[in-house]
Each structure stands twice: as C-alpha cells, then as structure tokens.
Symmetry: C2
Subunit: 149 residues, 2 copies
Amino acid sequence: MIQPFDDTYFMKKALQEAELAFEKGEIPVGAVIVIDNRVIARGHNLTELLTDVTAHAEMQAITAASNFLGGKYLKDCTLYVTLEPCQMCAGALYWSQISNIVYAARDLERGCINLNTKLHPKTTIKGGVLEAEASALLKRFFIEKRNLN
Amino acid sequence: MIQPFDDTYFMKKALQEAELAFEKGEIPVGAVIVIDNRVIARGHNLTELLTDVTAHAEMQAITAASNFLGGKYLKDCTLYVTLEPCQMCAGALYWSQISNIVYAARDLERGCINLNTKLHPKTTIKGGVLEAEASALLKRFFIEKRNLN
C-alpha cells in the first residue's frame, strides 16, 4: 500500500507552523512531534510575542507532546523542525530521550551540531528535508525585517 | 555601610527553592534571579509534577524574570542556582545574555562546563557558593529515594 506519510509530509506540517511564526513577526521556525504517523504536538517560535527566550518552537512542542503522552520521555517520537535545534532545544531533546530529530535548514553558527551539544545515545538526527523551503522562508523574513528598519 | 546582600545571601534563597522541590519529591534544585540586590524571579525543579523535561528551576526563573522586566534580555541580572546548569539551561542563558551565573554544586556529568555549552560572551560564571549545603540536599534526596524503592 502506498504510504502517504514520510519525512517530507511531516516537514510540511512543521513549515506550516513556521509560516504562522512569520505572520506574527517572529523568526519563522516551526516544529511538530510525531508518533505512529500522527502529529501529537505543534509549536512555532514565539520569543518576541512572549518576550521569552525559552519560547522556541521545539520547546513548546516538547512540552505539548509530554502533556499529550502523559509522560516526560518522548520514546518512539520524531521531532520535525524547520531549523537545526540550538543548544537549549537540543539540551531539552537530550532530557526527553526522543528517538529521532529531523531538521530542514542547518544553523552553522548557533545549531547544536557545530556547538557539539550532547544528544541522548538513543537519538538519531538528520537534516536537509525541505531545506530550500525552510531557508527561503528565513531569508524572506530577514529581508523584510531589514527593509522595515 | 555593611552590605547584607552577597552571593551567600542569594544562594540561600535559591536553596529555599531547592527545599520546596525536595518536599514535592523533585530532584532538589532551586534558582533565583537578582537585579540590583532584588530577587525578581524564583523557580524550582518541577519536571516530575509537570511531566515536562523543560521544567528545570532555571528555565522557570528565566521566563519569570523576563516577564518581570518586560524584555527577554537579562542584562545586569545574576542567576543563583544550586546546581551547575545543564546544556538546556545554559543554552537558554546564552540566549538571555544574562550578566552572571553563580552555582553551588558542580555537575560533572551533565553540567554545562564539562559539556562545553557555549555561554554569551557577556556572561560570567562561577561556582562553589554554598556547595556543601546544595550537595547535601541532593545526596539526602537520592538516599531517601533509594530507600523508598
């Protein structure tokens, strides 16, 4: 049987979240958490609206997924996020013992890979899914912001 | 004039928070954030009660301090925390650009120092303030927990 659910499908869901952040004037990053092909949590960056540096898309999705599951460990879950997680979010993902992380665009300067943030040994990480789309949205945001200032 | 406010004074406030966590059956870690010798935010570990790995003492204190200040940057603020921050909390502190971090006990395995979490260049970090008291509380928690199981 043809399987409609794949990494691209769920990354599109994360991109929808990123677009919601964009519309609110936030750096457009979105995330969803999936278990058994079902989205159980969503989040988008709200650091400006909440004046809170901890309000990254991933942090909200982690809290929402734990709430949904009734437990703090995200075993068998996959996070889809449009930008490589930062140290804070990767540190939270470490504690969550999440099974998989899939990101779209790399963050060479502030992402967890180049900063060597430790992930849980049970966690896999891969990138590049819809990278062009996620990067284009981020670029559009920063160009519009520059033009406004 | 004699100054009653020093690192020990504020770390005692953080230890009071850690004791609240202890009483709730949480790993006893507490934190306060101080500006101009005034405590503007408090937090204690609530990961079990909230079933949320992001509910560390520091994270709650950062959110509360930003809320109090009406801005997401914790310039001129000092965080007092009874245990060296983990990667997640240090990552949040990086984004907050907090001026100073003072911790009590080291966390050699999961603390930000040995895991090389990047702090903001404007941030200073020092440890060892009331280290014995903070460590004793943590040890008592794990001994009692072991005896219960």
